[in-house]
Symmetry: C2
Subunit: 556 residues, 2 copies
């Protein structure tokens, strides 16, 4: 079919934490013809509801669903305009979303926060992925699953996150039973946006698996749920269960209303919903086993396909067809990466460096990277732990914290900056080794995301992991990946592998490990691993105790 | 006698690392009537000799002896002028010096660097206390003493420092045998300056004990020295051994030449030489057992008297009459204190804080202290190790390095600053506990030195150590202490205890521990102690290995 319509176009829309980005892509070769970004009007709602002064509790993070629709109404037509193309040539639209981001809706998909009776109830709003107030519920879910020997627990590295569907759902039940009762569907935002486009609710296989504990066709049992809370027994049957759409399948046709919003032709294909990290894999042509995609930004998400099912301690999850149909999709993550570098630059760099960067016309990141890059491996004498935001994989412990060791009176800012860059690379290697040791081979590192622009950092990752490192060609990997899924949903490519081959692009082996660096980093990694295990695996629980002292101090 | 001459005066001269300070003091009540400072013309010679371009090796630190005489010629008469007194009323002069600072001299006390044949030989210059290039020799001395079971080793906490007389002497022999051969006396600068004042060489009991390994009336044996190096066998007999003067004794009378230099009357009493930290104890009236004097500046020196001899692991040394005759004087130290705070302020504070400090008209230290002081104990969630300059007591390991643990993305500069302040207090508590556990009681902390101006820091030390904290009244404790020794040497007070009572002054119990703080600091100190032992006592030798990697990196 693609041969028939060589100039056919698709639109991909990437819904991030603060904004949505649309890109117009040519089906034949993946050429990105135009793009536009729309920032959410309400951003992340973590202080008080719009129009209210009442402060939200700590760890809350909400969003307003109309902000998502605004992306369809503004960014999509703007991208078409920027591309200078005829919207009639667009044959499909695909989306990806942050996850797990949950919307409580009525039978017709109306978010409860849009009903007058719930407009001032925080629980009726979208709970963003980084809403962490359901930690007590998550802890109970993990503990009960462990006690009962639930076999699905190992599919999630042994821990259920506070970010996911069940923890957030149980929090809703226990803290706002009226909102819970009014919730007809407990929907991933990834699926809610597709519902807006098609008028039909289709639950995507990716989030259902990674965030919804759907394994081997089954959810946690009613018996399990009842033991958590008797009123929670019907959660799956009443709120969650719904027909599953495979990734790249056609969820439905673009409705007249959505066509009006977007300026696209009614009736074109709308792809099943998906997740930002996962759609990036085909955009980087990483659909075969062994290619670990690291989407490196404020945090890093890792996805890799495997031919077989393995239980990897500390991974986020493994889902059958979670990245591409037919393979087991594995996910892991580092909670803080670019966030840590940004924190350092904001909080620990003296005026002299600000002045030098300004004089040179470079950013502080560029200046510090340049200074750090002039050192030999090991020269700064420092070692850091990259746990300023906790540790997602492989320790799954958000009570951990950062560490820098080795300072002398001669230690300079660029030394610590480099040690922090290195720490995140060691963290990635720790994840790769966990996969490898569990029987999920990793033979190549494929980097997407904003940090790939830092060439020194990329070489450092190649050296630390001793893997060839490829970089995605697109600057907007998730939106391109969504466009590829749209092309498959529209039938323009046979499957996501074919779409990846035609539309994806990667700079293969852009960085190769330098043996002299690898040798020293091997030694430093062993030191990192010792610290990692000492402070992260029970040798010294000081980080937890300091958190407790901190809470007690604040409570006094 | 003091009653006969109620307006009798004494002069104390404190020879520091960069300058010398003279103070004119009234014998009767310790009133400080005038003071003057003279900076050494050549400061610390650590790059190249004066008039030379040839770089000195790393870790070298020399001085020029004429700079010391210049202090006598300028600061002393200026202090008399500033005091507006008649020099005829001065009845004695006392001095204190950095230690161990060594001068190689001829039979008449001429420094070898003043002889034309040695003027361009670095080994002929004064080796300042912080000349650390004799570390290999120090290591050999410690190892051999340990292997031979030399009983004096325990008097130094088990380790002989590279700063001391034997290590520096052995380096001189092995690296400059011609200078060694020409050295008739290997003299502490503390005694050399007294020699200049009196024309007589008297070796003081303090440095002979702490730095010269004179214990129970004996030095290390010729047999021991021969085993170090056959040519070193005669070191004690040929270069070092000399009649000892007790602290506060009269070393001799002021010569006509020295009277000409200083403007003081010829023939007045000159006290036996002494050390800056040790003379400060009587200036703070801390001459009784149990009162630990902490002289807190860039580093901290601790001295405390004990009624009995104990072996304290990790102390710098214990000397009979080392502080005051009749008691055992114990010494310990922290290599980095104010130095660490200064390093942080210079290297890790962003422009916003500089601007705020400027706007408020305060120093960065004051701003950070103010912000830190608003927190509750434990609120920042951090813990640090204060080893940026290594650890003098109780680990005696200069290959150790700093650590900060517990950072999150919310950690601010004042949090880390406070954690560093606390870390030095924990380091002091570690020393106090070593004394206490070894049977040397510590019942009160008496602080002298520049850091006592920081009231928040003083309260913190009281809280962390759970000891009442007194502060010395004088802003120039060492010079006052030297003046007190001059008064004793002149017979104006019966002994140093009487002088301390009459002339010293202390703000007793200026800070008392706050029980609620003590309780939390007790918990934090236990965490500190765990980290201290883990990284400092063999749990994880990572700091040493990082140093080795660093050296290897620089050598590549």
């Amino acid at each position: 079919m693609a041969n028939d319509r060589t100039d056919a176009l698709v639109v991909g829309v990437d819904f991030g934490t603060l904004s949505g980005r649309a890109v117009v892509v040519r089906v034949r070769d993946g050429a990105e013809l135009g793009t536009a970004v729309h920032a959410y009007t309400h951003g992340v709602v973590d202080r008080s509801l719009p129009g209210s002064d009442r402060p939200l509790p700590p760890d809350w993070a909400l969003q307003v669903p109309r902000d998502y629709v605004d992306v369809l109404r503004t960014a999509v037509p703007q991208a078409i305009t920027a591309a200078g193309v005829d919207p009639a040539d667009v044959i499909g639209i695909g989306t990806d979303f942050t996850a797990c981001t949950m919307v409580a809706v009525t039978a017709d998909g109306t978010p409860l926060c849009e009903l007058p009776e719930f407009a001032d109830n925080p629980h009726a709003y979208v709970k963003l992925w980084r809403h962490h107030a359901a930690q007590p519920q998550a802890d109970r879910i993990t503990a009960l699953a462990s006690a009962r020997g639930e076999k699905w627990l190992a599919r999630y590295g042994g821990l259920i996150s506070s970010e996911w569907e069940f923890a957030k759902g149980l929090q809703l039940l226990e803290e706002a039973p009226d909102v819970y009762a009014a919730t007809v569907h407990w929907v991933e935002a990834a699926d809610w946006i597709v519902w807006q486009l098609t008028g039909t609710y289709v639950r995507n296989a990716c989030t259902a698996g990674y965030k919804g504990i759907l394994q081997d066709g089954a959810y946690p049992s009613a018996d399990f749920l009842r033991e958590l809370n008797p009123d929670f027994a019907g959660f799956v049957a009443d709120k969650l269960d719904h027909p599953i759409g495979r990734l790249g399948d056609r969820a439905g046709d673009l409705t007249a209303l959505a066509a009006y919003w977007t300026g696209l032709p009614a009736g074109i294909a709308v792809a099943v919903g998906n997740v930002d990290a996962h759609v990036t894999a085909p955009a980087a042509q990483a659909v075969a086993p062994g290619r670990l995609v690291a989407i490196m930004g404020t945090s890093t998400c890792h996805v890799v396909n495997g031919a077989t099912l393995r239980e990897v301690p500390g991974m986020c999850g493994v889902v059958d067809g979670g990245i591409v149909p037919g393979l087991w999709g594995y996910e892991a993550g580092q909670s803080g990466v670019g966030d840590i570098f940004a924190w350092f630059v904001e909080n620990q760099v003296p005026p002299e460096y600000h002045d030098r960067a300004r004089d040179l016309g470079v950013s502080l990141h560029e200046l510090l990277t340049d200074l750090a890059s002039r050192q030999r491996v090991g020269e700064h004498g420092l070692l850091a732990l990259d746990w300023h935001s906790g540790n997602r994989s492989v320790l799954v412990d958000h009570e951990l914290s950062g560490l820098v060791l080795g300072q002398t009176l001669a230690t300079r800012p660029e030394d610590i900056y480099r040690a922090l860059l290195e720490a995140t690379a060691f963290g990635t290697r720790m994840i790769i080794e966990a996969f490898t040791e569990a029987g999920v081979p990793v033979t190549e590192l494929v980097v997407a995301g904003g940090l790939l622009r830092n060439e020194f950092l990329m070489q450092l990752y190649a050296d630390v992991t001793n893997l060839p490192l490829s970089t995605i060609a697109s600057a907007q990997g998730p939106a391109l990946g969504s466009a590829m899924h749209a092309a498959v949903a529209a039938g323009a490519h046979a499957d996501i592998r074919a779409a990846a081959a035609a539309m994806g692009a990667v700079d293969t082996d852009a960085y190769r490990p330098i043996p002299a660096h690898v040798a020293v980093y091997d030694q430093l990694f062993m030191e990192y691993a010792d610290l990692h295990d000492h402070f992260g695996r029970g040798g010294d629980g000081v980080m937890h105790r300091l958190r407790a002292l901190r809470r007690a101090a604040v409570a006094r």
